[in-house]
Amino acid sequence: MLKINYKEKINVNLLIYLAIIIVSSAILIYLDMNKFQYNYAISIIEKSLVYAVVALSMNIVTGFTGLFSLGQAGFMALGAYTTAILTIPVASRANVYYMNGILPVLENAVLPIPIALIIGGIVAAIFAALIGIPVLRLKSDYLAIATLGFSEIIRAVIASPMMDKITNGSYGLKSIPGFNSSLECFIYSLICIVIMILIINSSTGRDFKAIREDEIAARAVGIDLFKTKELSFVVSSFFTGVGGGLLAMFMRSIDSKTFQITLTYDILLIVVLGGIGSITGSIIGAFFVTAGKELLRFFDEPFAVAGVDIPLFRPGFRMVIFSILLMIVVLFFRKGLLGGNELTIRHLKKFRRKKNLDVAGGAV
């Protein structure tokens, strides 16, 4: 009886994930077929998917390796610009770069979207590897400040006149080919998320977690601290870069202002809200935050009861409501909605059992 059947458990979960994927695809196909009717819903779903990719990639470094990095926006910018530059149709290029012209090398450099996305990720990863060497020797808040600074530098460089012929400076890039359907967005995001989940649950992921738990103990069991941190940072940045590329495709036009610090905070919010160190938390958090912000638009409209306008209902009020909701979540679910746990069937069952036990305990 000592033997536990890992395989069976994994298979049950796998089946459920497959079911979720199939059902989601079916819903998306349905939405795609009625594109005009569900335009708004589709855009919310696409944005949530992109944010889920970036939030999970941030979680790798923050939640699973315990490195508090705030460079998300910078790495997203690198990925987004790379993808955009490599995918804008040649015919539209003269139109996009009408002010300063384009670097001759880039004039005809067009790649298929998946390859452009991967290159975007690689560019972000290379930058991460380079800045990781000095920066990852810092701890907690110092690391956060250093990465934040880096992210701003990237943004400033992108907007600078010297980069005009590549990034189109402060004019930004437009005519970026978008997703043909929400299913396409779903597939790209899904591939990224699945690979990240595989990494987190692999032996490499276990090394990350060991570092998060105790750096000195991790070194004492033979984990090369610097190499492993660097690996985590690079992998995370790769997927952040790909996420940035997806965001460029979603928005179809980007400029350096898209990648301000507020973008990093949005992602951080998702990670914290979903639960630091929880995969399902990041994904659910992405939908929760993105959809929440949109659904609360109701509060921005004038609202009248019996012909009297309620004074608070005006543009901007939804952010007040949203912030209050956030505070409630943070106060009552201090570790985020899932708090480092995963939403799996086993946990749901455990949760139910615990609840029953609580009830039984109360009766005694």
Binding site: L2, L198, S202, S203, T204, D207, A217, A220, I223, L225
Partner: protein
């Protein structure tokens, strides 16, 4: 001829103006159990930190199996076969008991991110899990395998930390106050346990301990450190009767 495992020659370390350790000479032979004792703040743990590479000594030599290991990364030193436990238990607290030991197995199964991500290492992984299971079983910890390490009782956490150190398959095991916080019965159990793992895994053990019963019972040789300097060495009996040791522990006559 006994083989020398660890040798410190005139090792010293300074932190600013403070000589935390000064001219420490120490040697440990294969299969021995050697203890370092001394009052609080004498530099015992600092010596451990130097041996395992957390600190780099500012002077002197550390030889492991005849080769210098000064300046190497802690992870490299662990790979060479020196494992340790910590005075204030350092487990991966939020991970399960099984994972704690499994992570320590990694270093014997070199993997890279691609093989591990795409599960090309499935056989290695299986082997690692089997071995973890065997080790936990042999240490009587298997029943706790799914428990979160930080939630275990203190004594079990101590044993888990030793099990995790054993998972790296060390030649030399450094135990930093393994009996801290244990009652006399637990200390006695630990004494026989340490001897048992020494014989079973063919270990050489260097330990720091304050429980004199344990130290006197199992150590073949004892080193006494005070204020960063070696003040005595020898068998339990020799050390017990050494006036300098008595002075360090009890103070000089007339102080009281």
């Amino acid at each position: 001829m006994t083989e020398n495992v660890l040798k410190l020659v005139d090792m010293g370390i300074r932190f600013g103006g403070l000589n935390a350790l000064d001219g420490l000479n120490l040697s440990v032979n294969k299969g021995e159990i050697v203890a370092i004792i001394g009052p609080n703040g004498a530099g015992k743990t600092t010596a451990f930190n130097c041996i395992t590479g957390i600190y780099t000594p500012t002077s002197g030599m550390i030889e492991y199996l005849g080769k210098s290991i000064v300046g190497e990364e802690p992870s490299q030193i662990t790979k060479k076969g020196i494992a340790r436990t910590f005075q204030n238990i350092r487990l991966f607290k939020e991970l399960s008991v099984f994972e704690n030991v499994l992570i320590a197995m990694h270093l014997r199964y070199n993997d890279n991110i691609f093989t591990s991500t795409f599960r090309l290492n499935i056989n290695k992984e299986k082997e690692m899990r089997e071995e973890t299971k065997r080790l936990l079983d042999s240490q009587d910890l298997y029943k706790y395998r799914n428990d979160i390490a930080g939630s275990l009782p203190y004594g079990i956490q101590r044993r888990l930390e030793i099990a995790r150190a054993l998972a790296t398959r060390p030649t030399l095991l450094l135990l930093d106050e393994p009996a801290a916080g244990m009652n006399p019965q637990e200390t006695m159990d630990l004494t026989s346990y340490i001897k048992e793992i020494r014989d079973k895994f063919g270990l050489t053990i260097l330990l720091i301990e304050h429980h004199m019963d344990l130290v006197m019972d199992i150590s073949e040789r004892i080193y006494v450190i005070d204020f960063g300097k070696l003040i005595a060495e020898g068998s339990a009996k020799e050390v017990q009767n050494n006036p300098r040791v008595i002075e360090a522990y009890l103070g000089v006559d007339g102080d009281a």
